[in-house]
């Protein structure tokens, strides 16, 4: 029974680590991802639009299979997981062999092994000494470091370059796993949200995926603004932010688009700017009806201003775009096109009085009991700065992963693992030969070129030995 079980496990792990499974998974992921762009996705689209575009029956099927939210559906996540698992198992399966191949190179080469190499050449030599010597110099001249293998009569040469190229694929796959890990970390522990703050407002609540969420600290906006291009389109938004923790400011920064504030891994991005429809500051001139001398007052919402020892005023109501619909006071928009300002004056003599002001119609007079009359001077609308909030603890794994992936791909595509052997032997008739062979991980054409360059150099070195020692010495001086 248990052997049956292990054989099933073995078979599953074999199937999961196979290249065929990997390719099938890649193709399935591609199809699923394209479905996720061709079918309207719930998180991105207006529900009304989805209802109009598909018939109820179609929509029911789409929803049942998670096709209206492909990228968050269980089967898509499972597909990604399987692809990751396939990558791990396939790499674990093949890595030991690759490691053995580069960690213990087959240095000592017998003619039988050399005979199997695709790149090989036999060069007649006079003695082992001479052959090895010529080969050694030729190796060095093309930048290979030869190692002497064996001793005495069984001496041979071995050299290799960029053995790391054989591991490049593993580096790429490991780094992709790192990217995956980062993504998973963020999907599980990270969050994204939005917070809108007016100047001097502070809050620790953000809206994350439709639900409120408390931050472990408080954020205060100390100012915000917008700069425009000449044509009126926004050029830059900025906000001055302060982080408050334990009752004191622990960080302060002026942020703009592409320049976020980062505090304890939580990042705040400038994402929007707009009017709240509420007044920010209202400047009025107040004159005592029974006397002379005007005074200027500045009113903020929810703030009471002392007019004199006996009277106070506060902003009771603000209608940015005043209109009367039926018997109701309404606002047509959030823009201060026709502001209606309702003040509440409280004085010891005449009690509480309501005063209406219409800056567009300064002559509008409404008999009231207020001891003061008011004149409109200036209005600054309140505005808010919209901030994206993101906490992504896994992002560094993602960037590191991408970095290593780039490195690994560079290694895989632009470095060739080359091995070269030079072994002196005798042929059937007793002629002494230098048997030179090479193997490479790829790029047959280029490696062929380099190999023939190498054998030509060896031959030239051998010929140089016979002719003059001096010329050869000069040549070696040039090459070094």
């Amino acid at each position: 029974m248990s052997s049956n079980f292990t054989s099933i496990v073995r078979r599953i792990s074999l199937a999961l680590s196979s290249l065929r499974t990997g390719i099938v998974l890649v193709i399935l992921l591609g199809i699923a991802a394209s479905a996720g762009t061709l079918i309207m996705q719930r998180p991105l689209t207006d529900p009304e639009m989805i209802r109009q575009s598909y018939s109820p029956a179609t929509l029911r099927w789409f929803d049942a299979f998670g096709l209206t939210d492909v990228f968050h559906s269980r089967w898509f996540v499972a597909l990604l997981g399987l692809a990751g698992l396939n990558m791990v198992l396939a790499s674990l399966d093949r890595f030991p062999q690759a490691w053995r191949y580069i960690a213990r190179p087959y240095r000592q080469s017998d003619p039988a092994f050399l005979g199997t190499l695709k790149l090989q050449k036999q060069i007649p030599i006079e003695s082992e000494e001479q052959g090895i010597d010529a080969a050694e110099r030729a190796f060095r001249s093309i930048g290979l470091k030869p190692q002497q293998v064996g001793s005495g009569r069984h001496r041979s040469l071995f050299a290799e370059r960029h053995p790391c190229a054989r591991l490049a694929a593993y580096v790429v796959h490991a780094s992709l796993l790192l990217v995956f890990a980062g993504g998973i970390t963020d999907a599980v522990w990270g969050y994204r949200g939005y917070i809108a703050l007016s100047p001097n407002q502070q809050s620790n609540m953000i809206e994350a995926q439709g639900a409120p969420k408390a931050l472990p600290f408080t954020l205060r906006c100390e100012g915000a603004g917008q700069e425009n291009y000449a044509d009126g389109s926004p050029r830059r938004w900025w906000s001055k932010l302060a982080v408050i923790e334990g009752g004191r400011v622990v960080a302060r920064k002026e942020i703009a688009v592409n320049e976020p504030l980062v505090y304890r891994g939580v990042r705040f991005f400038q994402s929007g700017y707009g009017s709240t429809g509420e007044p920010g500051a209202l400047r009025l001139e107040a004159t005592l009806k029974s006397g002379f001398g005007a005074q200027e007052i500045v009113l903020h919402p929810n703030e009471t201003v002392q007019l004199d020892a006996d009277a106070t005023v506060q902003l009771e109501r603000f209608v940015p775009d005043f209109i009367i619909e039926g018997n109701q006071i309404e606002s047509r928009s959030d823009q201060p096109n026709n502001p209606g300002i309702q003040l509440l004056v409280d004085s010891k003599n005449s009690g509480k009085t309501v005063v209406w002001l219409f800056p567009r119609f300064p002559n509008f007079a409404h008999a009231d009991q207020s001891p003061y009359s008011f004149k409109f001077r200036d209005l600054q609308m309140g505005y808010f700065t919209g901030l994206q909030v993101a906490y992504e603890p896994g992002q560094w794994a993602v960037w590191t992963g991408f970095g290593f992936a780039a490195l690994g791909l560079g290694m895989a595509f632009y470095f060739v693992h080359l091995r070269v052997w030079a072994v002196p032997t005798n042929d059937d008739r007793g002629q002494m030969l230098l048997w030179v062979g090479a193997s490479a991980s790829k790029n047959r054409e280029e490696v062929e070129g380099r190999f023939s360059q190498l054998t030509e150099k060896i031959e030239r070195n051998l010929a140089g030995d016979l002719d003059t020692r001096d010329g050869e010495l000069a040549a070696s001086m040039v090459t070094t």
Binding site: T37, F402, A406
Partner: protein, 466 residues
Amino acid sequence: MMRTRIESHPATVGNNLNLLVTLGCAVLLGTAVLASVGRGKLFNQQNLLYVALVFYAAAAVLYLGFGIAGRESHVHFAWLATGVGLLANTLAAANRWYIAGHPPFSSLYETLLTFTLTLAALTLVVELRYGMRLVGTVTMPLAVLSVILMELLPADVHPLAPALQSTWLHVHVTMAMLAYAACAVSFALALMFLIQDRVPTGTFLAWCSAMLVVLYAGILIRADAAGGLAVAAWDPSEGREILFAKHTPLLVIIPGLGAVALLVLAALSVPLALYAFARWKRSDRIQEWANEAFFIAIFFQLVTAVVFMQRLRGGEYPSRQAPGLFTTSPAASPFIIAGLFAGLAVSLLYVMLAWRRPVLERLFPAADRLDRLTYKTISIAFPLLTLMIATGAYWANRTWGAYWSWDPKETWALITWLTYVAYLHMRIARGWRGRRAAYFAIIGFAVVVFTFFGVTYLLPGLHSYA
């Protein structure tokens, strides 16, 4: 008719082509200069782009001529024309950069400008450095198409939205353009491989007509039962589409255009059907008929292109969404126009193959060399694609606080990447060579084209600027 003429006097045609193209360039540029002098502006971006268009077109014609007549001098002139076109294109891009105050990467118009530049430069590199003559036969018509598309797209300089003001964006787009251009070159090499690998001309016929049938079916999505075709309305005084609602252009119905497109579709399915019949009957004669039918379909396409341009330029048409008559313009339907021209370019490439296959086979490098070069270009494109995704993610993270949000452009970039992942694994680990690998390279480029154009115009998302 034309066919017999070329066959009976190949040498004369060969001699005259350089002269004809030179004359054509001279006439076009001469009239353009005269017109511009009249308006008082000589060296602006539109004019430079026009010069680039003329020279790229000249290069495309010369490459085709080289393919047909096989004269060495044509390809030299083609290189020269590509070089001059590249120079004009570079100046246009520099001018754009200077005027806009940011590198030309932010709208579809600007990315096309950069893409064409990269493509022409890469063509010259591949042709001169690797001796791969005739890559230009595929890439130059592509360059001409993208310049035509640029002429149709709105070109006004918009100031950069705050989100686009980042160096990372420039790195991202540079990577994308390099990667896409490398994919285009690998596509050209894969096609050349299939020719050298003795894929029968009939198979190319079938694929060409199938592709064109799909193209016209795509255009016909906008047709109605009465034979009309819905296209976006255009306000000539504003120089922009008339909007019906926010982001929704007003559609006008041009009567008869749908019927014309349907006719071409029918004409194109004839060679496809005949090819299938020929395969079934194993008859060379029917195969020959299929070929003839395709030539007739090319004629239909040509007439259709002219009719489309005429109807789009003049006349006022009714709309279903609003009462009254509205004008339209080729500029309102850049993708239909580009599709029509792409169809013609594909047809002409097929004509070149059908008439002069032996010459092409003599001129192209050997099949296994092309196979390796295709792999090599993809091994350049793939790391660039990876870096494109990585830099894009990094930029998005700096701007929106999310490195991956599954928006359609991102997703399709991932699908492109996955396609090449499959290619590389099949090639490296499974030892796929030859045809299967070439088909994969072609599919890969098709996905790239969809990612670049299809997503922008068919699928909405965050990437609305490019």
